[in-house]
């Protein structure tokens, strides 16, 4: 495909938003001066954190953003080939040989490769655990790291709770999210709209003429395309739900248009008029919905909404108006090509100025695995840890997906600190960290290895000293090394990316 390089058409970012800016944001809208004076003194949660000065290499900032955590393989590669080449490699994910990962997935989690009918018929608990563990494995060990980041993004954007839809979620994960995570938004949306899991999750399968169910019609516009302020009304929701009557699925996990449930009356949605037809139109009436999906895909609000959300995910919790406009125009020009948008967002000027983001629990677990590179025989323990930390995969109940904000997650640290001992402390079991490479020389050499592997050597001296002091505070044994590794993963520095 043609390359979108960073270029003069992309505006330079404004200076990164810091605490003062956010404080003003917080205070805006509060009226009285005395109140303002009082609130100035309050401890408020800031939405953005400036990038850390010791993150001196912009190439490493890119790797932090575009992976599930620093690991030697990517750090070495970006140092070897440079910023833009590494980014291009990751964007062209399907050209990366990831056959070792896929072979392991195929052998350990074979259900995920079966037909929709077979998956539908399989044991639900098995499907669920295979899907969750395969996610953890890929996040930690796939070479297609940027792709995995986008898979996670779209899985929240098109969130589906497995507790409601069961095995259908595994089909959606493979045939919708993973298939189009780096494709075009239009293909992704259409696949989602035809996905039995989504239709079941948002009750579309129960909607019928005369008494339509508005659940999917609303979230299709609010969460999937236009955004809540994207210019639709309650009437549009009601009319869209009539357009979509009859969209359901069959018992083999396949999409089905049931014209017997379709409302053939005239409708107006978002200013588009769909004339009445007779029920003899039958199956062709599915085109009403297909047409409206195209309207949504081509709507300027969708371009802005998707651009904003991708910027928040990949770059900054508070993208500027210029950044949103720039990426929305990439959406329009490329007809929603996700690869072009990702590459435009991750230009070096923006990445250099992007505020630090806080890892969500899944990201934290995956990055801990990447940093320590344990011998993995199974992932059921890691899977239950992701749950304990608050981000049980595919169990977020509501269609907005897990939050991605520091104020939401940062209060819940002790479970993370405990997790690091579960991972680093294990001497037997499913994920065992080998301490031998840390013990080939002095304690300082052991901390050097931690500093290199976990932080790509970008670590405040005070943290390095604290780790070394701890290691020196007891006998230099594997147990003490394991505790030191756990402390490194528990550190504040390891929570940001």
């Amino acid at each position: 495909m043609p390359q979108v390089q960073k270029g003069p058409t992309l505006p330079r970012p404004a200076s990164p938003a810091g605490g003062e800016q956010s404080r003003r944001d917080f205070l805006r809208g509060l009226v009285s001066t005395t109140e303002r004076a009082r609130l100035e003194r309050l401890q408020v949660a800031y939405a953005t954190v400036p990038p850390f000065g010791y993150w001196s290499d912009v190439k490493l900032r890119l790797v932090r953003r575009a992976t599930m955590g620093l690991a030697a393989v990517d750090v070495n590669e970006v140092r070897r080939i440079g910023y833009q080449s590494w980014l291009n490699e990751q964007v062209q994910y399907d050209e990366i040989d990831d056959s070792a990962t896929e072979a392991l997935i195929a052998s350990r989690y074979p259900l995920l490769l079966q037909s929709p009918a077979q998956i539908t018929a399989a044991n639900t608990g098995t499907v669920q655990s295979q899907l969750q563990e395969a996610w953890i494995y890929r996040a930690a060990f796939s070479k297609r790291q940027l792709y995995e980041r986008m898979v996670e993004f779209w899985s929240d954007h098109f969130n589906i709770a497995i507790s409601k839809v069961g095995n259908l979620k595994a089909i959606d994960d493979r045939d919708v999210i993973r298939k189009y995570a780096m494709g075009t938004f239009g293909d992704l949306l259409k696949a989602s709209a035809h996905s039995p899991a989504m239709l079941a999750y948002l009750d579309q399968n129960t909607s019928r003429a005369g008494a339509p169910n508005q659940n999917y019609a609303r979230e299709l516009m609010e969460l999937h395309t236009l955004g809540v302020n994207g210019g639709y009304t309650q009437d549009d929701v009601a009319e869209m739900s009539r357009v979509l009557t009859g969209w359901t699925y069959g018992s083999a996990g396949d999409f089905l248009f049931n014209s017997g449930r379709h409302d053939f009356g005239a409708k107006t949605v978002l200013g588009v008029t769909i004339p009445a037809s007779s029920s003899s139109a039958g199956a062709s009436a599915v085109q009403e919905g297909e047409k409206m999906l195209d309207v949504l895909i081509n709507h300027p609000s969708t371009a802005r909404f998707i651009a904003t959300k991708m910027l928040k995910w990949l770059l900054t919790p508070e993208p500027t108006a210029q950044q949103v406009s720039a990426i929305a125009s990439v959406y329009r020009v490329t007809k929603g090509d996700i690869k072009y948008m990702v590459r435009a967002i991750l230009n070096d000027a923006w990445v250099a100025a992007a505020p630090a983001k806080f890892k969500r629990p899944f990201h934290f677990v995956a990055s801990s695995l990447r940093a320590t590179n344990p011998n993995v025989t199974a992932l059921t323990t890691m899977n239950s840890q992701v749950r304990t930390l608050g981000q049980q995969l595919f169990f977020y109940e509501t269609p907005d997906g897990y939050p991605d904000s520091v104020e939401y997650w940062s209060g819940n640290m002790p479970p993370r600190w405990s997790f690091t001992n579960t991972l680093a402390g294990a001497t037997t079991g499913q994920t065992v960290v080998d301490t031998a490479p840390y013990m080939t020389g002095s304690t300082a050499a052991a901390v050097d290895k931690i500093q290199a592997d976990f932080f790509a050597d970008e670590l405040p001296a005070s943290t390095r000293t604290a780790l070394l002091n701890y290691l020196n505070g007891g006998t230099f044994t594997a147990t003490r090394v394991r505790e030191t590794i756990a402390l490194a993963l528990s550190s504040a520095e390891f929570q940001w990316y």
Partner: protein
């Protein structure tokens, strides 16, 4: 109620106490208070092993804030059985009248007055209502007309509709503008969850704790203190809000590990359901009994987004209501019945359409119910501000929904003012809103 806020000109900043009250100081102070042997001999097992200030008496209520996520069908949680339009619009998912002898008594509404009744799923709250400790507010909600879950929840939690610039939540700002109930409190606000609900954001010494009985750092106990010291020191230099919340968490580890949650024995024979909501309320009850200075707790209960197969008589909504009512009923029996200074309030982002849809469910609507409970609440009645708005077509909002006759902030603001001792700062808790008190409190 004494209003303490006038005693303090300075709002609690919540950001500089770490040096003056470090974890180590806390341990020293607790050792000086008598020690575990003394505590074990004097108090039942569920009491905290350390008692910071045994003489402490609160004159403000502890706030238990409950969010019923998903949009509660208030026409089911408190049935307007005297309005026949309800029965016309709900041929399938209806709760029969208290005097409907065509069905067994167990399937009928329990009359709360001559107009409203609780469905069988809410039976667990009938005793609290009868004791006049439970108030139902009907036809309430957000004045903003959003039918989006996520916008409506956000505005409700922020406390100012359609202001995207405010990061903090109303209960967080309450905590931030009122002096602590105890000056030495290590934890003032708690969310029983893995992430901090918007409601609490901005609160000093406020954390999400998914499981208060299991809040620790793992690893070998012999090295625990040394490892915790490394962590505490490391987080002292990172960026906020992580720095503050991590340091609060270090203190909270000590606090919560001193409380015997698993051995907590509810009073008066109360039995909490073994559900997420029931366990959360039980943990909060243990925290209240421990009297360690926690003054606000936030708990979510989901499952109210009943687009399909709502079945309030035996199915999905019955189960959800049953969990809600039995858990809150147990909390009433355990805590409120003993006249502890506590107010519990539940909100939901909106109600549901009057007419049921084709999936035996209901889509997003407007007005719904709130519940307020406590000895300071003027309970035992269903409050409808301005009278029942009616369910005939012309009385409905957009010809489909129960109207919102009173903004939810009027209810909360009265509680913040009269039960939480923060009348001086209502304009910070609910910016831009001038509340009218509706007689919610005694």
């Amino acid at each position: 109620m004494t209003d303490h806020s006038s005693d303090h000109d300075e709002a609690d900043c919540g950001c500089s106490e770490y040096r003056s009250l470090s974890r180590r100081k806390f341990i020293q102070a607790s050792a000086g208070a008598g020690g575990a042997a003394f505590a074990a001999s004097m108090f039942p097992a569920w009491l905290p092993k350390v008692v910071l200030a045994p003489t402490y008496q609160s004159s403000r209520d502890v706030m238990v804030s409950i969010f019923q996520r998903g949009g509660v069908d208030g026409l089911t949680t408190c049935v307007p059985f005297a309005d026949n339009n309800y029965y016309t619009a709900r041929p399938t998912i209806r709760i029969p009248r208290p005097d409907d002898t065509s069905v067994p008594a167990a399937q009928r509404a329990t009359a709360l007055d001559n107009f409203f009744g609780f469905p069988p799923g809410m039976a667990g709250l009938v005793p609290a209502f009868a004791a006049t400790d439970l108030l139902v507010v009907h036809a309430t909600g957000l004045l903003d007309k959003s039918r989006s879950h996520f916008d409506a929840q956000r505005w409700m939690e922020v406390g100012k509709p359609v202001d995207a610039t405010i990061v903090t939540g109303w209960l967080g700002r309450h905590l931030a503008t009122v002096p602590p109930m105890r000056s030495d409190a290590l934890l003032r606000g708690i969310g029983i969850s893995s992430g901090l609900a918007k409601t609490l954001v901005g609160g000093p010494k406020t954390l999400p704790v998914a499981d208060p009985s299991n809040y620790n750092i793992g690893g070998a106990s012999a090295t625990r203190t040394a490892r915790l010291a490394v962590i505490e020191s490391d987080y002292g230099t990172t960026a906020d809000p992580l720095r503050t919340s991590a340091l609060d968490a270090v203190n909270t580890i000590e606090l919560l590990s001193a409380i015997n949650f698993t051995g907590y024995a509810p009073h008066n024979g109360a039995v909490y359901p073994n559900s997420g909501f029931g366990r959360a309320l039980k943990s909060v009850a243990a925290l209240i009994r421990a009297d360690v200075g926690v003054e606000a707790a936030q708990i979510d209960i989901g499952g109210w987004d009943t687009h399909s197969a709502q079945d309030p008589n035996a199915g999905s909504m019955f189960s959800t209501m049953n969990d809600f009512a039995n858990s809150l009923g147990a909390f009433w029996q355990d805590i409120v019945l003993d006249s502890l200074p506590v107010t519990a309030v539940s909100v939901s982002e909106f109600g549901r359409n009057l007419r049921e849809n084709g999936s035996n469910g209901t889509d997003h609507g407007r007005g719904t119910t709130m519940f307020a409970m406590g000895k300071g609440i003027a309970g035992g009645r269903v409050l409808v501000v301005g009278g029942w708005p009616g369910l005939d077509l012309n009385s409905l909002e957009d010809k489909q929904d129960l109207r919102v006759t009173v903004d939810y902030r009027d209810i909360l603001a009265e509680i913040v003012s009269r039960r939480l001792g923060n009348s001086a700062n209502l304009s910070a808790v609910f910016p831009g809103w001038t509340p009218t008190f509706r007689g919610v409190t005694r």
